[in-house]
């Protein structure tokens, strides 16, 4: 159970991690700057177990992986959004940040609500309400189970993915 941090539509990776702050690969430094302009109270207030709830096209724009890395490092357990930009969603799965597409939850949950997510089924629970999000693809599950894309391909090679379907 965590707190919902609710953001709007079209949150870009520039908003998650402005270009002036990503000249480092250190996750802790990145986490301190996460959403620093779009949501200035986030980095200081976020607790492990919290959930980001957002609108359409979350993570649009730049491919900078610093954005999902910074969110993961804050301890946020998942990003729930009405929809995700392609590169962000792929990056998030690759580095072990779960993303759940769930327009109903995105529309209903209010900032500060308590939220719980089931990463296997994509179910989002908040204040006694239950929202059926999209379950992760078979591919995303395999990457998550391995601990990330690097770990999956390192341990199993591409054969692991050639058998699966997205």
């Amino acid at each position: 159970m965590g707190r919902a941090w609710v953001l709007g539509d079209g949150v870009s990776t520039d908003a998650v991690m402005p270009g002036r702050f990503n000249l480092t690969t250190d996750p802790k430094t990145l986490a301190h700057a996460c959403l620093c302009e779009a949501r200035p109270d986030f980095a200081a207030g976020v607790q492990p177990g919290d959930v980001i709830i957002a609108g359409r096209n979350f993570g649009c724009g730049s491919s900078r992986e610093h954005a999902p890395v910074s969110i993961r490092e804050t301890g946020v357990v998942a990003v729930v959004a009405a929809s995700f930009a392609r590169i962000f969603a792929r990056n998030a799965v690759n580095i072990g940040l779960p993303v759940i597409r769930c327009p109903a939850a995105a529309a209903a949950i209010v900032d500060g609500d308590s939220v719980e997510v089931d990463l296997r089924t994509g179910t989002v629970i908040s204040g006694g309400r239950r929202f059926d999000g999209e379950a992760p693809s078979q591919l995303a599950v395999r990457i998550a189970d391995a601990g990330g894309l690097v770990e999956l391909i390192h341990d199993s090679g591409w054969a692991a993915l050639e058998e699966s379907r997205a």
Partner: protein, 411 residues
């Protein structure tokens, strides 16, 4: 049988593929730049494998080049060390990654290219399947030479009508982006076609493909024709890709006969208007350059508008040729002299002020006209600056007038 993207991937795999298939495919060339390479190198090192093929790796210093801070210098140092340790010789500090990939022939018709930068869609303009990914994906490619793709559905954009100067591909791209929205082509290939695209130069087509990224597209593609083949060399051993009885998920028809110069207003690139809606708005900074519009044709346009004029005293104007080749050719033709004499600041080839780290960072309350592709709050500096996206003709006319100006009314 298939769309252009299905044909390219199918040709490379030696079997037919359809939208929705997940495939593991060889990558002809992968690149990263000074911001994304360090994370890609870290992912590669965790793979505990040798580099798959140093010749298929390109590293470009463009986002903060030369280094503007100690942090940037340290990132550059790590990349150079990695290149030396792994015999990567394709190391460039002479322009924007997306221009280098085309100029140096790393992106070729029929090929598959992955870049750790979202605008890697650009080379689709010459019939290459190219897409942006994150650093981890590129790190894994460095080790294995391969990656996985879901073969995308295709949005065909059929462009007809005469595009009258000073309108360019940028106006067409902005118009389509405004019509379908910033997620209008999410996960899709945007296939640009029709008589208007067939008449465009390769540079113009690269601009169209570039901005497919801003529609959410996985790639942007133009058909390969004589214009393409004059400026490129196709990948050996595979047929030149063409759509064959394609099945498109959707088709958008655009007639550009009466198109007005387009402008994207804050807060996002899909907030597109006719220029008349905002003409006269005072502007503090003009930036002309980027992977969308820093090419030789663009330098010619700027020189033409600035010739015999001085940039407005309230409007600092930053011009960044996108590569050393473009810069030297524009010098030879006298365009740079014209631009400098008009009072514009010409920076070294690279990303310039596009992403707010160098060469013209903006303050709260300032307004910018930029020929790049992104205007999110905070993109070029303060989140309280406003960024307007336009063609080079609009930007140059604006630089002279000091306010947003329809280039058709200039001079």
């Amino acid at each position: 049988m298939g769309t252009l993207v299905e044909e390219i991937i199918g040709n490379r795999l030696g079997r037919s593929v359809s939208a929705g298939d997940t495939v593991v495919a060889p990558v002809d060339c992968a690149f990263a730049h000074d911001v994304t390479a360090p994370l890609a190198i870290e992912a590669f090192e965790r793979m505990e494998m040798p580099l798959h093929d140093p010749q298929r790796v390109v590293l470009v210093f463009d986002h903060v080049m030369p280094a503007a801070t100690v942090a940037a210098a340290e990132l550059h140092q790590r990349i150079r060390r990695f290149a030396a340790d792994h015999q990567v010789r394709n190391l460039f500090a002479e322009g924007i990654c997306h221009i280098i990939m085309v100029e140096r022939g790393y992106a070729r018709p029929g090929g598959i290219v992955v870049g750790a930068d979202s605008h890697s869609t650009t080379y689709g303009g010459l019939g290459c399947f190219s897409t942006g990914m994150g650093s981890t994906d590129v790190g894994v490619i460095l080790a294995t030479g391969r990656t996985w793709f879901r073969v995308p559905q295709t949005l065909r954009v059929e462009v007809t009508g005469e595009l009258r100067a000073p309108l360019t591909a940028k106006d067409v791209a902005l118009h389509v982006l405004g019509s379908i929205g910033g997620d209008g082509a999410d996960y899709m290939a945007v296939e640009w076609g029709g008589e208007t695209v067939a008449r465009m130069t390769l540079d113009q087509r690269l601009t169209l493909a570039n901005m497919a990224a801003d529609m959410g597209g996985k790639t942007g593609l133009c058909e390969v024709d004589e214009t393409t083949l004059e400026g490129t060399t196709p990948i050996d051993g595979v047929p030149i890709p063409q759509p064959r009885s394609p099945r498109y998920a959707d088709t958008l028809h655009v007639d550009v006969t009466h198109l007005q110069p387009q402008i994207a207003m804050p807060p996002a690139a899909d907030n597109v208007h006719d220029i008349a809606d905002v003409a006269g708005t005072p502007i503090d900074e003009v930036y002309i350059g980027s992977c969308t519009n820093g090419r030789l044709e663009d330098m010619e346009v700027i020189a033409r508008y600035l010739s015999g004029h001085t940039v407005h005293p309230n409007t600092r104007t930053v011009v960044v040729p996108a590569s050393r080749r473009i810069y030297t050719e524009a010098l030879r033709r006298g365009w740079i002299e014209t631009i400098v004499e008009a009072g514009a600041l010409v920076m070294n080839p690279g990303c310039g002020p596009c992403l707010g780290r160098q060469h013209g960072v903006v303050a709260a309350g300032e307004r910018v006209v930029s020929t790049s592709n992104r205007n999110y709050p905070g993109r070029m500096g303060s989140p309280h600056a406003e960024i307007y996206l336009t063609s080079p003709a609009v930007a140059a006319a604006t630089a002279v007038a000091g306010c947003i100006t329809d280039p058709r009314s200039a001079r």
